[in-house]
Symmetry: C3
Subunit: 208 residues, 3 copies
């Protein structure tokens, strides 16, 4: 099964948005005395993390290391995110929308890459979700912060899970991969944006 | 050299016990506001972590991603661990016993997998120990806690080390792999259970 | 393109110095109650980390797991580092010099390994820098400390970046790999030592 191939510029754009966001996130913690390199590392980790986790699990050389373009884009986006943090923080709605698109794209790319590597359906969804949210997990680990998506908040990984599951179900029903992938991206995007708008969240952990 | 093959249900059971424990551990920290997904992530990481580290180091696609069964079992066990934490915490002796069996099994599987991948003896023991305790390391990293097994406590990794070393020595002496593996599991189990019973521990770090 | 092959004893020495340093670093935090195993783990992670990250990214079985020598050397160096911390801390200049040599060597090995695996220039530099500093990142993650090299300090990763970039540029200009590698090691070494001597650092993150 051939993987869902998105245009190279779209993949680069997704990495760039991830890096921009990672750097903006890091820029909020000015008391931590990150230097320029630290900001670049956080940016690269946020933009690359999901894709590298995906490719490690699929036992492939990470795609981001097979072209000269990814690292400059990620580094540049991280430094822009740091410099223009004040500007972008006023554009937070734009960023949320772009980020929802990014997790949708990363999720669809990861899920179809896993399917075409021959993984069964359930682990393919798992790899897709990790591809979507891995960058954010790595960002929080490197910053020594609690991992945001494990805590009560706005359906970030759940949006990726809904999209990846839909993609796999549609493919199993015989839908062509590009169409299933687009459906997955749209669903992830919609769930995430609605969750932010209406403050949907999962219940906190509880015991009987 | 063929790897020590344990029955599929025993491997699933080991993953399930790991996930149950990870979720029960996480459930103690109610002030952290983990949501349901966070508990599932901790459970999956604890149950899968060792096996994924093992397979990454051996340059193979993780076994846990080659079947549809592992993820539902890990997720289900994590949610049960969370819901029934109060019940299970009264059964802590049962859990300790099951967990000692689990690190024994994971250690034997990891060590023989490394041997059959052609690794020399010493790194085979290393991979076996990481396979046994990797889930617990990943759990602590994701929760932002000090990594339990690096601190003064009850011979957790040491038990795995004793079992894996015994296995490799026996195989080198010509003992058949299944028998060497069973000896390794039994030794790891015994050391761990006795260490908990008699509060054995390694000395704290010191300097001359 | 054949990788820059350094003598086996030099590679072992670099791993040993890394482990020694990691353990000495950990020994400063006596209130954390690390046990002997914890110190060994930190030592092994610091000495091995960069090489393992390099080989995972290049989709190869880690070199450190292909010989029986690396683990005993790393463990031994870690325990010596712990026991003799007081002695070594008076030799801190010697250690800084040896460590500058180590990041130079790891950087050159990583960069040429990436080039010979067929990676383009920019990701080859990235892999080289990660190979040089990955151990230090892993050490800080496992200790639950802020990651030193992301914060304002003395050009640690930058030294590796300068050396790796020089190596790749020289190779592209047609210089033989051994000579380019030596140039890379010398430059990394020089930048790092001068940065410590004259307290050079990158500027802190800022915004417009």
């Amino acid at each position: 099964m051939s993987a869902f191939v998105i245009p190279f510029w779209a993949d680069l754009l997704a990495v760039g948005i991830g890096s921009l966001q990672g750097a903006m996130f890091a820029a909020q913690f000015r008391d931590r005395r990150l230097d320029l390199l630290g900001v670049a590392i956080i940016g690269i980790a946020t933009g690359f993390g999901g894709g590298i986790i995906r490719d490690l699990l699929l036992n492939e050389v990470p795609k981001a290391l097979q072209s000269n373009w990814y690292l400059p884009v990620a580094t540049g986006a991280a430094l822009i995110g740091m410099l223009l943090e004040r500007l972008f923080s006023r554009l937070s709605k734009v960023i949320t929308v772009l980020d929802a698109l990014t997790i949708g794209l990363f999720g669809a790319i990861g899920t179809t890459a896993a399917l075409s590597a021959g993984l069964p359906e359930v682990p393919a969804v798992f790899v897709g979700v990790l591809a979507a949210v891995g960058g954010s997990i790595l960002r929080d680990l490197l910053l020594g912060m609690p991992i945001a998506l494990m805590h009560v908040g706005s359906l970030y990984a759940v949006a990726a899970l809904v999209g990846a599951t839909t993609l796999v179900v549609l493919v199993n029903l015989g839908v062509a991969i590009p169409i299933a992938a687009i459906a997955g991206v749209v669903l992830t995007f919609t769930v995430r944006v609605l969750a932010v708008l209406f403050r949907w969240s999962l219940p906190e952990q509880r015991r009987l």
